[in-house]
């Protein structure tokens, strides 16, 4: 066990992580096609899958922004507002960065 852990902690670690992520993601990519030949997507399953992307975003952004403090919260609001008004993700990202950087420049 300790040799395995030493191996993971060594230079192989980052590549193990990348390989594991790539393998799982590929399985998900082919999973939908494989599944459709066997399973029926019932309405509750469909609603769960539809709610999943937004739920991931909410579960990620809310705790990270609150933990990072007011500049992060203001930046998230600026990004959301810009995305809503301009419909452009790159502009939204830049607005978020500008808002947070400005707030930090003022020492908030």
């Amino acid at each position: 066990m300790s040799t395995v852990e030493g191996w993971i902690a060594g230079p192989a670690g980052p590549w193990l992580a990348i390989g594991l992520m790539a393998l799982l993601t590929y399985l998900l990519r082919i999973g939908g096609v494989a599944m459709m030949s066997r399973v029926r997507i019932t309405p509750p399953v469909e609603r769960a899958l539809a709610a999943l992307p937004g739920s991931i975003v909410a579960a990620t952004v809310v705790p990270i922004a609150i933990a990072a403090g007011p500049p992060a919260i203001l930046g998230v609001l600026a990004a959301v507002l810009t995305a809503r008004l301009a419909g452009n993700e790159l502009a939204a990202l830049l607005a978020g960065l500008a808002a947070a950087a400005a707030m930090r420049a003022f020492g908030l």
């Binding site: 902690a9 939908g32 739920s55 952004v61």
Partner: protein
């Protein structure tokens, strides 16, 4: 969706070119996201090869960004399991996207299906769905769109990384916050109104906050996401 005739899918060179043309307008966004990933990966201590390698074999923007949040200097079994769980949760949407392509690909040989599904991303999927919605049956559209966006994706990681390496004080430009800002912007088009998106998103955020306070690490993302999906499954919108 119109019923797809049960025939072997057509794959033509012209279809590949058409797919590349359909996907072209989304390439600036692909470049910007890959650039941002490259720049952010420097700050988290990845080597250029690790960043580009991840772009080549994972090719999934949101999960690549999120993996940076979970990146370690020294890896442990627990950290590997966490990153595996979070990646699977974030990329679970590929199951649904693949499921919608299945009627289109089912006539092809298994190796051809398995090979082309490596190129399943938002951009290629959207191009394919558009082509199908217009009555097309050429699976080359999916291949062409996928190959072009894959190539652009991993190449654009390189200038992003090199630019990120020039920034000595990332906090000054709020670059440590790229992930939450990008995610928040990404979520805006996913919003389907308070009635449909409100409950799952609210539950996801609250459960994630609670789990974050109670459990160390990044389990809160998986817990919040599953709670949100479960809420979506149980919640029927009242019209």
């Amino acid at each position: 969706m119109p019923p797809i005739p049960d025939a072997r899918p057509v794959v033509t060179g012209a279809g590949c070119l058409l797919g590349a043309r359909i996907v072209a307008p989304s390439l600036p966004g692909v470049i910007a996201f890959a650039f941002a990933f490259g720049a952010a990966s420097v700050q988290k201590g990845l080597t250029l090869w690790e960043a580009v390698g991840m772009s080549m074999v994972l090719t999934a923007g949101a999960s690549q960004m999120l993996s940076l949040e979970l990146w370690r200097e020294t890896w442990t079994l627990g950290a590997l399991l966490t990153i595996a769980a979070v990646t699977s949760a974030v990329n679970a949407r590929f199951v649904l996207m693949g499921a919608s392509l299945q009627p289109w690909l089912k006539g092809a040989s298994l190796p051809a299906q398995a090979g082309s599904l490596f190129l399943l991303f938002e951009a290629s999927w959207l191009a394919a769905e558009r082509h199908r919605a217009e009555g097309g049956r050429d699976a080359g559209v999916f291949l062409g769109a996928g190959l072009l966006s894959w190539t652009v994706w991993w190449i654009a990681t390189i200038p992003g990384y090199l630019t990120g390496a020039l920034v000595t004080d990332p906090k000054r430009y709020a670059l440590d916050l790229v992930l939450p800002f990008f995610f928040a912007a990404f979520a805006v088009p996913l919003w389907r109104g308070v009635g449909r998106s409100g409950p799952p998103w609210l539950v996801a955020g609250l459960v994630a906050l609670a789990v974050q306070a109670l459990v160390p690490g990044y389990l809160f993302i998986v817990a919040g996401a599953l709670a949100g999906a479960l809420t979506g499954a149980c919640h029927r919108e009242h019209r």
